[in-house]
Symmetry: C2
Subunit: 316 residues, 2 copies
Amino acid sequence: MKIDFNEAVALLKSRDNILILTHRNPDGDTLGSGFALLRALRDMGKRARLINADPIPKKFSFLCDGIVEEDFAEEFVVSVDVAERKLLGESLSEKYGERVNLAIDHHETSRLFAEKTYCESDSASCCEIVYLLIKAMDTPVTKEIADCIYTGCSTDTGCFKYSNVTPRTHRIAAELIEAGADHSRINVRMFETKAMGDFMLQKMCLDTLEIFGEGKVAVISVTKDMLDECGVDKSALDAIKPITRQIEGVEIGITLKEERDGVIGVSVRTGESCDASAICAHFGGGGHMRAAGCEVKGTMEEALEKIKKYIIEEII
Amino acid sequence: MKIDFNEAVALLKSRDNILILTHRNPDGDTLGSGFALLRALRDMGKRARLINADPIPKKFSFLCDGIVEEDFAEEFVVSVDVAERKLLGESLSEKYGERVNLAIDHHETSRLFAEKTYCESDSASCCEIVYLLIKAMDTPVTKEIADCIYTGCSTDTGCFKYSNVTPRTHRIAAELIEAGADHSRINVRMFETKAMGDFMLQKMCLDTLEIFGEGKVAVISVTKDMLDECGVDKSALDAIKPITRQIEGVEIGITLKEERDGVIGVSVRTGESCDASAICAHFGGGGHMRAAGCEVKGTMEEALEKIKKYIIEEII
């Protein structure tokens, strides 16, 4: 059942012994929302704890600085930034999937899996919503809360770069800085710091760049050896995948990666003229309009040839 | 002579036939400031024109969309985002350097070279100041003006990422979006699109990367030949300069560029532990705490040696 803002505030104020759940592969928005809410609830004298299906990436570890774990039987379960049950991750979904009392979310695809859902799909981040809820609960926005909220606002908007940013996003950012959010340090941590290995990988990847289709298609190829040589794991590819599409004129950006013997993982990013999920569907994969993936059998060269042929003959 | 905000407003309102000067190698802030001011002055029924020492980079061409050139004998000369006379560029400095009536600026190193200077050194961009001046002149902030101001706010802060961002910066961004600024399209153009030449330059620059000072200093060296080979001009360096500082552990990021025969241009970007302007001041340059520049005589190797020696002996 959907509820409105005031109902969400009243609900949070009236409950205690609260368990907060984030989504699997937690990012800045789900963690920022969760830890900000946890801090606010504890400041209000309530008991609250947070659990994740997956470990918290190192870059987000500061969000829970100073939070001491508390154990108690939960009486109220809140999810933040979780659009559907399975996104809790397998273990949490099984244990709590049917027992979420309040889902706070900003996804258009929100599935209303919880008893009650407060969702603002035009909010740039879930943290924006949590910020307004905290203010409405009349508990102070401490520096620590401001840091958490700012992290979600910033990471979910590519640091205020994307089209989801609204005037409200900026006004909240202004208030967070006034509340003490360490904005530039957070941004350096989120956006401006590349481990040497990631940096070297980028350098090596650029050397593999191939352009075809009259400049409309760009491909980068990443071998296992490259990852090994740079001492990074495949999560380092997150920073590589957007590169091809950023080249002026490129409509289809492809990153190939040796997945396992004889299988090449393919990531496709597209501009407004092509549907990445359609390209990947042809090879048995899927995803979103602008970002999708699939696997192709063969060597790197064979995979590239298959994709090249299909794109040149059918897409461009 | 320094003047205050109200004096600057009164001055701009009282004058006509206004020539606006930007700094050499024009960037988003000087051009955004200049064209926003030009548009506002013309909307107020005045005559205004803008000249640059160097061509406007293609990525900023939209800032002057729809502006028809006007020729008239200037009666009042305004510079925007120009900290000292020589930054007007050689030709403009010679012609107008002694005749600037009002300098609007935000550099700490502002030299007060004009008859009157309105400088807010804690403003993240010159565009922020121009925005407030335009509002105070009681002329509407049109969509076109909002686009110009947003561009400067965004480019001078790395899209709201740097420590120069204040609550005011975000509140102004909110107002600009409400005034119609095409924020996400501007950001794609500024931050997410790389011309092929820029892309190739980045690839070549990464090959010159040198790290010293126990990983705290990183240097990239750019020759004239590299620029020629990539078919780009020196404005392409704007995207190169931040790269070195992004490597984890690097506190001082340096970009060297063959400026002219026997002169190397040096751009310095620093983390929180070092003052870029102090380093550059040692070599006769200047700038901001986190980003500054200077010129060093000699070959690329000689310049690098001089800087290396100074940094190792005095800074780190």
